[in-house]
């Protein structure tokens, strides 16, 4: 993936560039808002990572201008401001996701991989399929190898989100935000219990475990 990182903290930037490189991504870096905007305008990136507070031009304004110009490149906004209002302001300006500092690198990586449009399945798909597991978003039916699986509404949404992002790591915080719409902080193992129940329903008695735990990061569904 080709990524543009607009971040004024040199140390944080060089760490991110190195880590993204190890994860197999090419990263360009801009240290201020004007340069960042110029680079985003002139080149084609898969994802933009933009710090909210930047010298010369703030991140929100960059995103707004890009969106006004019809640039739909996915944007992840980084910010130390974590209140709901700040988050709403960032997303309203056209940001696709909002990550509050300090964050874990695995969290950032998982989020940009989910954001990148190149590998995303079509939003319009009504049936998601991974291995022998299929989920029909309209009839709300879940089957594995032709065998119907009964899920609670919440488990259905959990599985739907995982399958939509099949093959990508999904963190616990992402699950909380997208499945529960929580931006606050329950104990992390709350999610783990839900996941082990879901696993019990879809993987029990099958040779291949579709729902996998990614150590230190989160969960992933794939065959």
């Amino acid at each position: 993936m080709k990524i543009l990182l607009v971040e004024d903290d040199r140390e944080a930037a060089s760490y991110l560039i190195q880590a993204l490189d190890e994860a197999g991504h090419v990263t360009h870096h801009a240290a201020d808002g004007e340069t960042g905007y110029a680079m985003a305008e002139s080149m084609d990136y898969d994802v933009l990572i933009i710090d909210r507070m930047l010298p010369r031009r703030d991140g929100i304004s960059i995103v707004e201008t890009l969106r006004t110009n019809g640039d739909a490149t996915p944007v992840l906004i980084l910010s130390a401001l974590g209140e709901v209002d700040d988050r709403v302001a960032g997303l309203r300006a056209g940001g696709d996701d909002y990550l509050v500092k300090p964050y874990a690198f695995t969290e950032l990586l998982a989020r940009i991989e989910v954001l990148a449009r190149r590998s995303s399945p079509s939003e319009a798909a009504t049936v998601y399929e991974v291995g022998g597991l299929s989920l029909d978003r309209l009839s709300r039916k879940v089957e594995r190898d032709g065998e119907a699986i009964l899920l609670q509404p919440r488990e259905f949404r959990l599985l739907e989100y995982l399958m939509k992002n099949a093959g990508k790591v999904v963190t616990r915080t992402m699950l909380l935000e997208n499945v529960w719409d929580y931006h606050f902080d329950p104990q992390t193992n709350v999610i783990d219990v839900h996941m082990s129940r879901l696993r019990g329903k879809i993987d029990k008695g099958h040779a291949t475990q579709l729902l996998q735990t990614v150590r230190g990061a989160g969960y992933m569904i794939r065959d």
């Binding site: 974590g82 919440r154 902080d185 709350v190 839900h194």
Partner: protein, 468 residues
Amino acid sequence: MRSLPQLLRTTSVRLTATFILIFVVFSVLLLGIIAWQASIQIQRQQTADIDREVRLLQRIDRTQGLRGIAVAVQRLANQPGPGIYYLGDRAGLFLLGNITDVPDQIIFEPGVYSFDYERPRPFDPDEEGEAERTQGFAVVRSVELASGLRLIVGRDVVERRGFTAIIIQAFLFGVAGILIFSLVAGGLTARRILRRIDTIGATSAKIMSGNLSERVPVTPRNDEFDGLATNLNAMLDRIEQLLQGLKEVTDNVAHDLKTPLTRLRNQAESALRPTADDEQRRQALEATIAESEKLIRTFNALLMIARAEAGAPSGAFAEVDISAVVADVADLYTPLAEDSGMSLVTRIEPDVTLRSNRELLGQAVVNLIDNAIKYLASEEPREGRIEVGVERGVAGVRIVVSDNGPGIQEEDRQRVLQRFVRLEKSRTEPGSGLGLALVDATARLHGGTFRLEDNAPGVRAIIELPAR
């Protein structure tokens, strides 16, 4: 004390001065109109008197001849008072009267005149001796009688002028009196107002110089200044309370964040130990990350409490379905509770809504259920039971989370609401000691209360939020 120019700039003094000015201008106008009207009235009266006497003397002239008119004029002239009489022969020469020195023009050309003259005698008959001649001013009417004699009848108006002078004098005294009275009254009023404002000013100066416990004195008069003082004092109480809270937080943060920071540092150091092998280094670094994770959570919790205590921006308040929020949290925790061998029961009245902050309320309920699970798990094995309820009361909304765990001693129930307070038996449990502080701050942000009650056994945590 203020200097004079400073004093003159104050609002109360300027207001008083304005009122005095208006008052004096109106008094002057009023008295002026009275004096003017009175003098016109006197003038008319005198003219009428003169005309009447002239007509009388003309009749006497026609009916009684020279002797009659002479006697009549002489009698009138001898009366004390302002009357002026002159009777001349056909050639205008003085025959009799009480004035001799009259200009020829007045004698020969009939009409109305006014002129200065020498007054031949004092009008006071009691006064003896040589007649004192004084300056007079006369208004007269001159006529030629049927017999050809010349008659002049008039009035000395020095007396009338005297009357005007008396009015003006009275008028000046009046104005001076009014001026002095209003200056004194205005000055006293202004001083009283200034003194009360100065009291408030002096108190704020003391507060600015650092003495935050100072308060504006409130008098029993209960006027608008007392209203202002009461409000100022309430504001100062709030500020003092906030500062006190801030100080406690700073102290606690210093104490409670240094411990994990030390652990963090120790773990990083142990990873750098030359004797450490790869596996030990990896473990040490993982511990470092876990520790910093905990610090971030503590930090976030602190920020959240601070926001709730500072009063969240009104934009963060919306109509929230409390029933749904609480049911969602309960739903999130049910699997965890069940896996830990507890039951989580809900008693949620549907469609309870309230203007509130969804994030903070959600986090508050999360914290309460988290706590309940944590303390039930620390107990020796038995049937743990958590009840989560929402009910609509008379005054608002009640959110209740109760458990049958170890409970909290009565003397500790207030204390555990403070930041970083952790009871001895929970020291070993994971947690920051901020959970209940956030619940308390959230309840207060919504104008409500949070309290812990004995559930015999266990704890009943009650958030009461008033309807707005």
